[in-house]
Amino acid sequence: MDLRFTPEEIAFRDEVRAFFRDNVPAKTREKLIAGRPLDKDDIVTWQRILNKRGWAVPNWPVEWGGQNWSPVQRYIFDEEMQLAPAPQPLPFGVSMVGPVIIAFGNEQQKKRFLPRIANLDDWWCQGFSEPGAGSDLASLKTRAERKGDRYIVNGQKTWTTLAQYADWIFCLCRTDPAAKKQEGISFLLIDMKTPGITVRPIVTIDGGREVNEVFFDDVEVPVENLVGEENKGWTYAKFLLGNERTGIARVGLSKQRLRRVKALAREVGLMDDPRFREKVAAVEVELKALEMTQLRVVAAERHRKDKKPDPFSSILKIKGSEIQQATTELALEVAGPYAMPYVPPQEGRNEPPIGPEWAAPLAPTYFNWRKVSIYGGSNEIQRNIIAKAILGL
């Protein structure tokens, strides 16, 4: 047992850190620090910088551009990316549909889609949730009816993040309505330009427009866009959702945010207040503990024989989301009265700010960040998973 990084791991960290320091575009970095939303161009540009360096899809197999890194290296890479801060690659392609295609897709699909995912030539979005299927995802209703060499898709997806930019959507659709709930679901890849698809933005309480409803009205999908076997989509979805949970602790992001909170609090004199200082320190302690917990999960990965997600990752989800939310509350307190003005992010770039410029995004970030304990399997669902899978209750 040696709980420190090896010299090799430190060398790797330094390499990664230097790359991020030198290559994240300045305006992107500033937006991230300020908590202002990135636009499409920021995201695409960064993904291509990563891809050029060979780091766009490090977790994929080497033949598709992966890096064969150890779990610790992957952890270091993610951590440094958040600390830089650099934009985290959109998960929909790189961490969700990509691994599903790699694990369950056919050769043709791999060749067609994977390189374009790595370079963000295709922007993917996720078509899982429906108005009636949230925590109970398997009760989804969107139909895909086989007609010859096409599926005809009808139904509605919701909470589809950044669908407004998307070229493709991966969808869970019901292909056998007679089958039991989890059975009869298929995993389809759908071109967003297909006729019959309508995207309607959902305005969120922070004023953001990052999620959407996506309606399917007799949308024709070629059968070659089915991943794996028909009616086996639930298996692929579970595989995907398991992958989703491990990255969600976001230790680096929370570290970066706490540093910023402390810097701003110093600026307004709030770090002289023992009460506030201790509130920050309490979150730091939780975060340090989470970091160690995450490292333990990462280190344990090499002992795992199956590819199933470690139920311990549900702990990372619960604590990670709580800590992220706590950092947004601390920031709100730092803002003081200037938490109140609402300055829409799109407009007003030429107007002077109201109060200190950094204050404007803090309340919206607090509001918006309530989502992290809801999405990706709500924290209540995570507790159900732990109760069953770890405690045997």
Partner: protein, 362 residues
Amino acid sequence: MDFDLTEEQRLLKESVERLLADRYAFEQRQAYQKSPEGWSRELWRAYAELGLLGLPFAEEEGGVGGGPVETMIVMEAFGRALALEPYLSTVVLCGGILRRTGQKELLPRIADGSLLLAFAHGEPRSRWRLDHVETQVENGRVTGEKAVVLHGDSAEKLVVSARDGKGRIGLYLVDAGATARRGYPTQDGQRAAEIRLDGTPVEAVLAEDGMPLIERVVDEAIAALAAEAVGAMTALQELTVDYLKTRKQFGVPIGTFQALQHRAVDMLVATEQARSMAMFATMMAGEEDAAERRKAIAAAKVQVGRSARFVGQQAIQLHGGIGMTAEYKGGHYFKRLTMIDQMFGPADHHLERLAEAGGLFD
């Protein structure tokens, strides 16, 4: 001790609630918010007709002689409706100052709805400190910057705090038109403004030594906000219970899951504790012993802020995604509750004050 409303109070409550039920449905509220002023002049007139705008004023001042309980009743109803009008600024804060500083001729104009006011006290560097005033008054002219002035954009007159040559913080009435204002919406859909005064002439000296009065009206405003928060919390808590009863997942209403039931119970408990402290604040808002009053009001702000935070966050959590959408009322309660906690300083700020003052029991 009597928690029952008097007949007059009951009638007041019913008439306010009826008015808001008729004319302040969520869709209407959203329309008012999107209008240029960000609130409804029509409703303002309706409030005047109901006597709400002169509620705390004596009858000879065009008012109805109500006390803190009456204000509590009205504010709780406003909280439920998420009302947007400048009641706190004009009636509670500025009305509270004017009726104690001999400006009786303005009160009937507040009461009949023809005069809007704002309390221009906070400054860019004051944060929550009431005694941090850099704005200067000299030879009847005021110069300085005022920050996040609630409804400062629509006010015709401003009550401005400023420091005189002797270092005293005084209160001065100025014409809002004689200042440079930049209005904007707040996070919860209300309005505020940044205001710059540059030798703005004083129309009336309200108090040369204004700190005790500032503290007093801010305490009254906090009591009023506590009641508003309780109205919003109660509505949000009910909305959440309704959602738990109707939303189905896994083939059953999600309200059948014990973990969610217990969370809903904790929301109720938090709401009732806040209601109790809003009542306590109402009871103590008129306390003449300033030290006792301040402790009580600070305690109420602590409880209301903590309950507001818990109820708001849990309501969003229990609603799942729908609670995050702008078109659902729940999220707006959450935002308003968040901002009420912030206003005049969040819970922990008041806990600090209360603890420094020796706490509640001794």
